[in-house]
Symmetry: D2
Subunit: 255 residues, 4 copies
């Protein structure tokens, strides 16, 4: 079973709360997905209101909240927001997102490493969103990260696993769980990430913007399970030559 | 529900019987996959023996046999084998496979069209294995085919959907079910085929040669369902720009 | 040197005459490309007019005309047009294009084979535009074709070599020159086709619709030469592991 | 014309000196490539010997040396080696390569940024080899880098432009020249890098390990020029629909 920090997860599908048309749809889709870890931007939480609407919709006992630092531009801001989130939501889990560039939202490797170091020292369970950079992943391990979240493609692009070559190296080398984040646009992408050995995937946009988020949540759930099962059962390698599935030669000659 | 000829299928995963280590494993994997249509090379059936072993292992009530013509080199041989199969197995279904080239097993478009015409006239339910050729698919329709089975990649290569550009055109234009056959090496490939609108997939090698064919059968079953559900729920398009899943700008400024 | 029928070609870049903004630009671009074989739709030729404008612009001594049958829907029409072209233009060369579907312009394998047989008997040098179907290529050889022209991607799509897996098989098996036609959108695509062993490429749209067709003609010329040279010099294989270009270990230890 | 630091380059093909079978072949291939910037591992230079063999083979007046720090594991070692190289070779140019991992040779973003800052302050012209990380590129600019050298694929893998999605973002955002380094296995890859707007490419393995390094050097030279010319002339976009190059409808109806 997947374990991050001190928690065990039956589901390897992590989800997000952005871009849904409304909170009721979000709630229904996330429950259908059976996701146990759901990221939420601290900004969206009304920290002064005990009955905050988004939190009320995430109240399912299966769901663990993963506050993210979306909107911060450097390590200092990230640490501050993580502390706010800990106080407001009562969790020491944090998804680090530090992207100074508002157009492509690519993560900053330097500030992310710095923030990971600090937050780990402060007792946080840190899951940093990063480029699919194998060396950065190892340095984050040294800094005390609890998982790494390399991107598959630019956030929200739905382009799938454009970083596959590097994800394979990361999976091979990692001592912490690898969660593929960003770019996963279809269940087949999620299945592929699991097939190549990722420990989990985080999907948000592809579920939220589908015309049928609930069905799409189920589709991703099944695809993640299928991909994981295939990884465990082991796939055959791609071949350079065709090979007959059925016996071939001289069939009629033998009749 | 998928309908081919006069039969309805709950499962959109068709399977094959080649390359399994033994018949008991084959039986277990095919049952686990919940496949309802299973292709078998006529050559492997001992037509003189009522207790033929491979058939006995395919005796599950859910399973319909789809005899294939693997090993024939032209339309004449194919028609002959289809007739033998009808007599031996009591089914008018036939998977046409005409590949004169023993190395790459690529199908012959000319002989396949000719055999389809003849077999349709003879009352067969014909499912021809073909290159992903959109015009050939339309001509097979005119000739009375019951489905088309374009390849994803060379047989047994496990390379996935290398013909995607053409499968999309075929799906858009087809009036008969489209079954993607050959090349599907992983559940993610099967899911992708379904996402782009295929009516079913045929998987053999990837299940049969896995170290754990039973688990792999289940993985494909789930992936096919996931891909079909995503197709029905509708996927978002791939985008050229990243888009934040979480709200972005000016977070800290507002605190 | 490339030989098709009885002609030898220094240039392995074949070109087309469609979509240029005007004839003067076309003339300049084709001359800059140093192309020696230029396809032209018979329809565009004013067969009653000796001073037909498009032909006047193709009058360079290096240029051989390759009339095409664009617009025909079956073998009968194709043979008729080829004969018209022979009379009007005084050449027995013909590029067969039979695409009944006006949307995707995918070629018809059955009619193309039929027309090739007839035209070869009638003494034509036939270059058929086809899907990247290895078995069809072999049958066209048997029918007397002088070359095969498999597509890289749908005409005008500029998507590059989407049929690479099949082009490789075609190149390996072919006894006549292989000319990759359609889909080549950039000089890098043309270079890649040559690297994998194509004998020539045909490029039209990518040159004609560029804002600078003359420069683009030169760029394609160089790319085709580069790709061919690399094919002859032999490329190294793609590897699964990184390998240092520079010596690595223990550098400082040795100082 | 490409300008890096205070030097102008006619050639946009940078090369390396590793893996050649012998120095004479290296010399011939590099001269044939017309490369003006050639990277050499300091370790390979015999700094005590004025007649060092490798240097003597790089003595062509067109060639500028670019010593690299291959073999170092952190910023401190890199700065030290850069200083040694400056003294030994009389150049303040340096290609930063810091890869602690001996298997995949992926570069370290943190140490590379640190070394770039220091070396820029010490008056070096720094060209850092990095992952295709758009944010890191911007930070290197702030640190005073003279160019960025993002990788296309793991070093020596010959897999081509696996990082294309990210190279496009880097090219769009960069204020310093972008040199694609590593992974370029064929002239078509080099052409593609140039087409998408890279300022130059660095090629080593693909030339050095070819059975014909001299011809391969020429092939890369032409491909780089072709790709650059296409970039300047502007390519058409890939399209989702086929479009006829030749006029289509109703041809025979009009006859």
């Amino acid at each position: 079973m997947l374990k991050i920090g001190d928690k065990e997860f039956k589901s390897r599908l992590f989800t997000g709360t952005g871009k849904f048309s409304d909170n009721a749809t979000m709630k229904a889709a996330l429950e259908a997905s059976e996701s146990e870890l759901v990221t939420v931007a601290l900004k969206r939480v009304d920290t002064d209101n005990e009955d905050d609407d988004i939190l009320r919709h995430l109240g399912h006992e299966r769901i663990n909240l993963l506050p993210n630092t979306s909107g911060v531009r450097d390590a200092k801001e990230a640490v501050f927001v993580a502390q706010l989130a800990r106080e407001a939501l009562g969790t020491n889990w944090v998804k680090l997102e530090i992207h100074p560039d508002p157009k492509y939202l690519m993560p900053d490797p330097i500030e992310t490493l710095k923030a990971t170091e600090e937050l780990a020292k402060l007792g946080f369970i840190v899951l940093p969103y990063i480029h699919a950079d194998p060396v950065l992943c190892k340095r984050l391990e040294d800094a005390g990260t609890s998982a790494v979240m390399p991107l598959g493609a630019p956030i929200g692009s739905n382009r799938g696993l454009r970083t596959q070559d590097f994800l394979e190296i990361i999976v091979e080398q990692s001592n912490v769980p690898v969660v593929v984040d960003a770019g996963i646009g279809a269940p087949s992408d999620a299945a592929k990430a699991m097939e190549l050995g990722a420990d989990a995937v985080l999907v948000n946009t592809a579920i939220a913007v589908s015309p049928n988020p609930v069905e799409m949540g189920v589709a991703f759930k099944m695809a993640v399970e299928a991909g994981r099962m295939a990884y465990e059962a082991k796939l055959a390698q791609a071949k350079n030559f065709a090979e007959a599935s059925s016996p071939l030669t001289g069939f009629l000659d033998e009749l």
